[in-house]
């Protein structure tokens, strides 16, 4: 078979069909809203999205044509998606209809279909909820970026990734597989209340998977360990985030550190209860899998009981204000720039707020929508807050119905001076959890388990050995209650969770978190019956 190099010097934007003009999107959205209302909907809203995705990467199995340049191969993908989602409401019932044929006939037919469906089901509703009010949103917003990634050519993108690759290759045992997914989207929102917004998003999902494999690991057939580069979280930004020499130096430093950890002697996990230090990425991952979905109100109200599950932070009226976790724990929702989901308006036309979810160990709010925020009315009134949605409604694709979803959160860091070294120094006999990327939970998020590849023994304040074959089981509330010390701002990093919410649509939660020390971590051995 022959191969053709991926080498275009045209701007990447040239590889996408012309986007539909915003005024056409407006016309379609307004027509759909009118059609739904005429067909009997009390309320209707519409999202239409014109999405383009460009992914370029270097790694195993890439394109061979550019080997002469960087010694490995780039690969790429382009996706183009035009789709809409229409919601109609009657009483407490909602119907959503989605599609991808963006013509006037198709979208108005869908709107009428949504209204007809909801009218037929509304009589079943026994306890209708009301939508909380919101200002009528109107306007246009564009992600503020310096360099449009779609104005650069694939060659320029690949050369940039090649520089990262070369930086990693300058370390003795390192490797890096860089890839970046650029997303550009024009999304129009319209509602029967008169809202009409247009937002132009530019988003980057860079992943630099660092790999280190020492000769000893090769000899013992221990698999390579990968890590992520903390500076490269998914973000709303342009190409400027990948420019400059600092990133290459960071890559080299990260691989050197990773390699040093992997050169430590190894031991097998011993069952027991240990003190533990989590680095920022691991703490962020822990929060992304356990706390973030637990404060999604839809889940706490039991609406997903037949699907993903419920929340241990339920019922909200018994949870709000109670000191459930360590007083060191404060977690805030934040969709402002430069977060990946930064927006001027959410998918119900509400401006996103930065607001606390957990304050000094007590839950003080949930992710809501205009449809669900009313469930917290008594709490908001009791604490002197307006009964409003805080702008957390998200439709990851226009075709998915908006729900109050966790996206970007921040855990507050501790007092200056509590560095990673300092946290480790305070541990006599414990464990260090690094770069944890995955946790499995139960459907109520009440507990979970993880199986860390990067687990290290700490003896008298010194990291001594790498611990293999460990499994950690935990109760969520108990674990977060046992967080004794939080690291300072120098320990901040990102942790993530991701899950499919419908076929091929992934919801990602990003939590920026400091390192932290825990009083107790229950460890068992990973393998059984061998």
């Amino acid at each position: 078979m022959a191969s053709i190099p991926l080498r275009s010097r045209q701007p990447a934007a040239a590889f996408f069909p012309d986007l539909l003009a915003p005024d056409i999107l407006h016309s379609l959205a307004l027509a759909a809203v009118d059609a739904a209302r005429s067909a009997g909907a009390e309320y209707a809203d519409v999202r239409i999205g014109d999405l383009r995705v460009l992914r370029l990467g270097i790694g195993e199995g890439g394109l061979v044509g550019i080997q002469d340049l960087i010694g490995d191969a780039p690969s790429g993908s382009i996706a183009y998606e035009l789709s809409y989602g229409i919601r109609a409401r009657v009483g407490g019932a909602w119907a959503s209809v989605f599609g991808n044929t963006c013509t006037l006939d198709a979208i108005t037919a869908s709107a009428r279909e949504a209204a007809a469906t909801v009218r037929s089901l509304a009589p079943v509703i026994k306890q209708p909820w009301t939508m909380v009010p919101a200002p009528v949103a109107k306007g246009e917003w564009t992600t503020p970026i310096q360099i449009d990634p779609f104005a650069a050519s694939p060659d320029e993108h690949v050369n940039l990734l090649g520089a990262f690759y070369n930086a990693a290759c300058r370390t003795p045992d390192g490797d890096v597989w860089p890839n970046v997914t650029w997303t550009g989207e024009t999304r129009v929102f319209a509602s029967s209340e008169g809202a009409l917004t247009t937002q132009h998003f530019t988003r980057a999902s860079p992943t630099l998977s660092l790999t280190a494999k020492t000769p000893l690991m090769v000899a013992r057939d221990i698999r390579a360990v990968t890590g992520r580069l903390p500076q490269l979280a998914p973000t709303s930004a342009g190409l400027e985030i990948l420019l400059g020499p600092a990133l290459q130096e960071t890559i080299k430093a990260a691989i050197v550190e990773l390699t040093a950890l992997l050169r430590l002697p190894t031991t097998t996990a011993q069952v027991g209860r240990y003190e533990a230090v989590f680095d920022g990425a691991s703490l962020g991952t822990l929060a992304a899998y356990t706390l973030a979905p637990a404060v999604e109100l839809r889940r706490a109200l039991g609406y997903d009981a037949d699907g993903d599950g419920t929340s241990f932070l339920s019922p909200p009226q018994d949870v709000l204000g109670q000191p459930l976790f360590s007083p060191q724990l404060t977690m805030t929702a934040d969709r402002s720039m430069p977060h990946y989901n930064a927006a001027q308006w959410d998918d119900e036309g509400v401006s996103p707020q930065t607001f606390p979810l957990i304050k000094n160990g007590a839950v003080v709010d949930y992710f809501t929508t205009r449809a669900t925020a009313g469930a917290l009315a008594s709490w908001y009134q009791k604490t002197g807050q307006s009964v409003v949605s805080r702008g957390s409604a998200m439709a990851i694709r226009p075709r998915t119905a908006p729900t109050g979803r966790a996206s970007e959160l921040t855990i507050a860091s501790g007092a200056p001076g509590m560095t990673m070294d300092s946290l480790v120094r305070h541990v006599k006999n414990g464990l260090l959890v690094r770069s944890m990327e995955y946790i499995t939970t139960d459907p109520q998020l009440n507990g979970g388990a993880f199986f860390p590849d990067m687990l290290f023994e700490i003896k008298n304040g010194v990291v001594t050995r790498r611990v293999l074959k460990a499994a950690v089981q935990f109760g969520t509330k108990h674990l977060w209650k046992n967080m004794t010390t939080v690291g300072d701002a120098s320990t901040l990093d990102h942790g993530f969770s991701s899950r499919y919410i419908s076929p091929e649509v992934i919801a990602t939660v990003s939590v920026r978190a400091p390192a932290a020390q825990f009083a107790q971590l229950d460890v068992i051995q990973r393998q059984v019956n061998e």
Binding site: L6, F15, S75, E81, F98, T117, Q473, R526
Partner: protein, 491 residues
Amino acid sequence: MKIELPRRQGAGDPRTLVLSQEEGERIAKLIMSLRPQGPFSWPMSIVHTVQSVTGVSQGAVIDTTDGDTMDIEFWGGDFGHYSGLRLTTNQSDEAMLRRIVDQVLAMRAPGTKAIPDPEPVDPDDPILTTLNRRSFVPVSLWHDTTADAMYTARNTVIPEIVNQVSAAGLLGTATVGFSARSQLVIHPIGRLAYSKETDCEVTVTARTPDNGASGWGGQAHRDWSRIRPELAIAQAVDLANRSRTRFGLEPGRRTAILGPAAVAQLVRAMAALFGSYQSPFNTGDRRPNRPSTKLGQRVVDPRVTMISEPNDPDGGFPPFFERGGDAGFPTPATTWIDRGVLKNLAYGVSMAMQNGKIPRVEPYSIRMQPAPGTKTATVDEMIASCKEGVYVHRFSNVEMVDYKSGVMTGVTRDGCFFVKNGKIEKAIKNFRFLDSPIFALNKMELIGTSERVAFGYRNYGRFEPRFPRLPVIVPPIMVHDFNFSALADAV
């Protein structure tokens, strides 16, 4: 050219709900015609899915999500085996497709010459031609009854769920979902694969008002006329009522009676083990005179048989690889385990060619059943024969921990009971487990008859991007020394 979509309500003939083979071929022909020289080396696939999903929660909220998606995926250029530029779009409009393909061609730099592959594929290679001659297993995965009911059945089923669960003094959350899907794959070396399928599920979760207990019931079938929503409702209500007072039981190794919904979660997660380089079935040992697989060896209890039959009357699946470079190659009916003996492993096309094997897709759709002649037992009979153990109605959040041993973890959900002296003694709190289904199937005491199991509207993976999930048909089993590793406080 415009393929007119969607054709949902009022479409008349339900058979026209999804893209037909002729319509798919017209799209494919357009894309192929835009390429100036030679065929694409990689297959082109078009998937059209029409769905209707209705959820109800506590009789207070109803969400419906109806619509259709079109996914066209193709590879721009004569790219090598693992390389290329992948394009996906949901637009079937001619002008849109023409622009996309033009841009793909523009990605070739002017004057660029193809780099010869050091090991080019010989189109006359007897292995390849043998594979190409393989025919598709004939399947009938489409049921007009399901397409007919897609937008109408919920009008009776949803009120029935709300009323019955409420009448029992419980909070109900339920999903009624339908899917109609067609898929066309065209490969440049002459293969064309087309399938058309329907599927549907009803799942019901009933919880006590204090959220202290939960029960679940589910029904799934490709044919709506085979769905019995009332059974799902009754099971959910019964399990919730019986779980109102739950006790904590010490974790540890215990005899476990696993209902079909629990077994399905384990067996579904086993699919990857049949295709993994390192698994309990494939040691990956490359040393001379050492078998690298356990083919021909007994790997589980001799009363267990596992098969994947594309035309399984209780499920079935498209008889070809659906994704990636292997898309469109036929996959045959396969016996994976016969009377406990490993008979086949899953191989992609490339690996199959290298090893003289037949390509077989990993068994995301699978039937586990008692071997012929095996005495079967119902769940009630298993409970009656159990001196002390745990009945697990369903597992949830099952994840692979270690491919080499097949060890998985997950939690019990929606019905977990302590069994003593042949009777269910009391409801107990949930457990986390840490065990391998291979170990469990080697410690099997009893096995029942098989049934298709619903999975619910959640937890899609990139290897199985569809709802409902591919059919898994399994029996209840009773095993000893199952490893319940911790208590799980979840309800």
